[in-house]
């Protein structure tokens, strides 16, 4: 279905008015008029969260008492680490020599030509060691694990990117590692499962609930309830109880800081708009956070629109959900009227999650970031375009952001710069994409 017709649709010159942006949004009237609403934002946003882990009303710590002491310990150890140049130097050296940072800023020229509008640039997090942005966080948290004197690590994973990045960091430091992964994700992300095993991690397939990321988080939390004294939980996104949303955001902020410096070097200015995909929202938070104070730059987060906008067929809590409590945090969630978490769907295992980081809920409430969602089919279209036009296989997750960037680029002029966080590479998705193409063809 998206094969040939999508190619046709993408062929230049296609000029579209700005309002014809295809993805879904909470407030349709906004379309993509992204020029006006950013000037009055308070710059104190970068001081959040507050002492109770709140971003405005979002965030907090809704966890069993058993975990409170470990979260307090993590918070205090993190604060000490922040003030310790030795810690920062060690992390910086790892990011440079082990991960390969800074990741390049890349001009996707043929993709831009195809869209026939603005220039599309990629921040190449896919070129990091282990193939995604996840390693930025896992190395930081592994160093914190050592500081806290804990001897075991657990993690949850959806697409397997965070699992691989955690297994890698743990192998690097010699820490035993257990990764919880939904059985459905084990099936659709086999290459990452194999990598984790080769790196010495123990995989625990999760067979409860929808057998995806949400259930993997539940199981990891249950493990942590029993192992909290000697185990650190390396949470992979900007979700969960305080201080995880802050810590993960801070470790990922290297993405946005580099992007700002690289933009100034290459363009002599900042990009005209920045786009990132949002599941839990860690690559987006890392990209956006340093840009929050740069109020001239519109920021756009793209959620997984799945098959359609009806409950159970998408994973877009910011676009379609309500504020509520899930996995220790108060943020937008997909729940029924009784507060039961709804099933979600996305072709992309990394976005297949019913919640989102509390800071994203906050940024949506202040209007600093606009959130949209795009469908499985649209993400696959973007995947094809990037693969065939640029010689890059983007992760299905990142393909959501690329689709939005292509749509935005069409309505802009060639001197404008649309910057996308290409959060991961898509080798892991090759088999699943073949399967999905067959499913779509039917």
């Amino acid at each position: 279905m998206f094969g040939e017709s999508a190619q046709q649709e993408l062929r230049p010159p296609v000029t579209r008015p700005a309002k014809e942006f295809l993805v879904s949004s909470r407030s349709d009237t906004l379309a993509f008029d992204l020029s006006s609403s950013f000037s009055s934002q308070p710059s104190s946003d970068s001081q959040l969260p507050d002492a109770k882990g709140r971003f405005g009303k979002f965030g907090g710590r809704f966890v069993p008492e058993t975990l409170v002491a470990a979260l307090d310990q993590l918070q205090s150890e993190y604060e000490k680490a922040q003030g310790d140049p030795e810690f920062q130097n060690r992390l910086d050296a790892l990011l440079k020599d082990f991960v390969g940072r800074p990741s390049p800023l890349y001009f996707a020229k043929r993709l831009s030509d195809l869209c026939g509008g603005a220039q599309i640039w990629f921040k190449r997090e896919d070129l990091n060691h282990t193939g995604s942005h996840k390693i930025n966080n896992t190395l930081g948290q592994a160093l914190l694990t050592l500081r806290m004197g804990k001897s075991r690590v657990i993690a949850e994973t959806g697409a397997g990117q965070h699992g691989v990045a955690t297994a890698t960091a743990c192998a690097h430091f010699g820490i035993p590692c257990v990764v919880y992964m939904g059985e459905e994700d084990v099936r659709r992300q086999q290459p990452n499962v194999q990598s984790m095993k080769l790196l010495g991690a123990e995989i625990h397939p999760v067979t409860t609930g929808s057998r995806t990321l949400r259930d993997a988080v539940n199981e990891a939390m249950r493990d942590w309830m029993s192992s909290v004294v000697d185990t650190h939980y390396i949470l992979g996104s900007v979700v969960g109880p305080h201080p995880f949303p802050k810590i993960v955001r801070d470790f990922q902020s290297v993405i946005g800081r580099e992007t700002i410096n690289q933009s100034k070097d290459r363009f002599g200015r900042l990009p005209d708009i920045v786009v990132a995909c949002v599941g839990g929202g860690s690559n987006a938070a890392g990209m956006f956070y340093p840009f929050v104070a740069e109020t001239d730059v519109p920021l756009v987060g793209i959620e997984a629109g799945g098959r359609n906008s009806s409950a159970g067929n998408h994973a877009s809590p910011l676009t379609y959900g309500e504020p509520g409590v899930l996995h220790g945090s108060f943020s937008y969630v997909l729940q029924d009227d009784d507060g039961q978490t709804q099933d979600v769907h996305s072709a992309s295992a990394g976005l297949d999650y019913p919640g989102v980081g509390p800071e994203h809920s906050y940024w949506m409430s202040t209007g600093r970031v606009q959130y949209r969602s795009c469908t499985d089919a649209q993400a696959l279209q973007a995947f094809d375009a990037v693969a065939t036009q640029e010689g890059i296989l983007p992760a299905l997750e990142s393909s959501h952001a690329v689709f939005a960037a292509m749509e935005i680029a069409r309505s802009r002029t060639p001197d404008e710069i649309v910057l996308v966080c290409l959060s991961g590479r898509g080798d892991k998705d090759a088999a699943e994409i073949q399967r999905l193409k067959k499913e779509f063809d039917k």
């Binding site: 109770k52 907090g60 710590r61 809704f62 966890v63 069993p64 008492e65 058993t66 975990l67 409170v68 002491a69 470990a70 409860t208 609930g209 949400r214 539940n218 939390m221 249950r222 309830m225 029993s226 909290v228 004294v229 309500e322 509520g324 409590v325 899930l326 996995h327 220790g328 108060f330 969630v333 729940q335 009227d337 009784d338 507060g339 039961q340 978490t341």
Partner: protein
């Protein structure tokens, strides 16, 4: 004085301890839950904990998770739970305390939750994902409604914090025997008696122990240091077998007998 307070005043005057079974609302259906409430009250349980099924219970082990999943898959909704409790609570002497996730309370709205819970005759709530630091607003409203918001203390809670939590808890303190999730355990942690003894020195409030408690021998061990015992998985496990009228009657009888045994052991 709340209904929960009254139970402990009476028990303390008699030098007795409380036995509090836990059952899941709607597993396998609410009629069975109603029968369980009546049966557990009839054999002399002092309080009954009613689990409101939740899709993501991170403090629960496989037995209660599976029970919640059965209840939700059977279509158990909050409206129907409140309706059932409303029908049964006037028939049973034992105060019924809900075990409910804050995800559910928040979704309903804390005022609406309290209004409906008290109207149905629930006497209190244990909210496992609402630590004391986040509970101020809800706690104040519970206090006003004479609805006991029971706080939890665990082996990972520091002494200073335990004192703070004890000050905030209403009705009793739920002491979690182990750092871990719910589920039957043969052996209780060796430091449990010591932990309870030191907690006893910090507060006048009754202390009930839960997580892992499942055998009469546990009751005998804990009797000298606790004011009550909470048993969940050992009861809920039996509900998995309920399929037809025969197994309903049999399971109800088994649960009642088990509760009687535990009450005798703690007496």
């Amino acid at each position: 004085m709340s209904a929960v307070d009254e139970v402990f005043v009476r028990l303390r005057a008699d030098g007795k301890k409380a036995f509090m079974p836990f059952i899941t609302a709607g597993d396998p259906d609410l009629e069975f839950t109603a029968d369980c409430l009546r049966a557990l009250d009839a054999v002399g349980c002092h309080l009954i904990e009613l689990g409101i099924p939740y899709s993501d219970p991170i403090a629960d082990g496989p037995t209660i998770q599976a029970s919640y999943t059965r209840a939700l898959n059977a279509g158990t909704r909050l409206d129907a739970i409140f309706e059932m409790v409303g029908r049964v609570s006037s028939e049973v002497k034992a105060p019924i305390i809900s075990m409910v996730s804050y995800a559910i309370i928040f979704r309903l709205g804390i005022d609406e939750f309290l209004r409906r819970a008290t109207a149905a005759g629930l006497s209190g709530a244990i909210v496992p994902d609402l630590p004391v630091d986040e509970s101020e607003q809800f706690a104040a409203k519970c206090e006003d409604a004479d609805f006991s918001l029971i706080q939890l203390i665990t082996p990972t809670t520091s002494g200073d914090r335990a004192v703070q939590i004890a000050k905030k808890s209403m009705g009793f303190i739920y002491y979690v025997s182990i750092a871990g999730i719910t589920g039957e355990r043969k052996e209780l942690p060796p430091e449990l008696i010591e932990n309870l003894t030191s907690l006893r020195k910090m507060t006048e409030l009754p202390i009930c122990v839960g997580f892992g408690i499942s055998q009469p021998i546990h009751a005998e061990l804990l009797k000298p240091v606790a004011d009550g015992l909470i048993v969940g998985s050992a009861i809920v496990r039996r509900m998995a077998d309920v399929k037809d009228d025969v197994s309903r009657t049999r399971t109800l009888k088994e649960i009642s007998e088990f509760a009687s045994t535990m009450i005798q052991a703690i007496d």
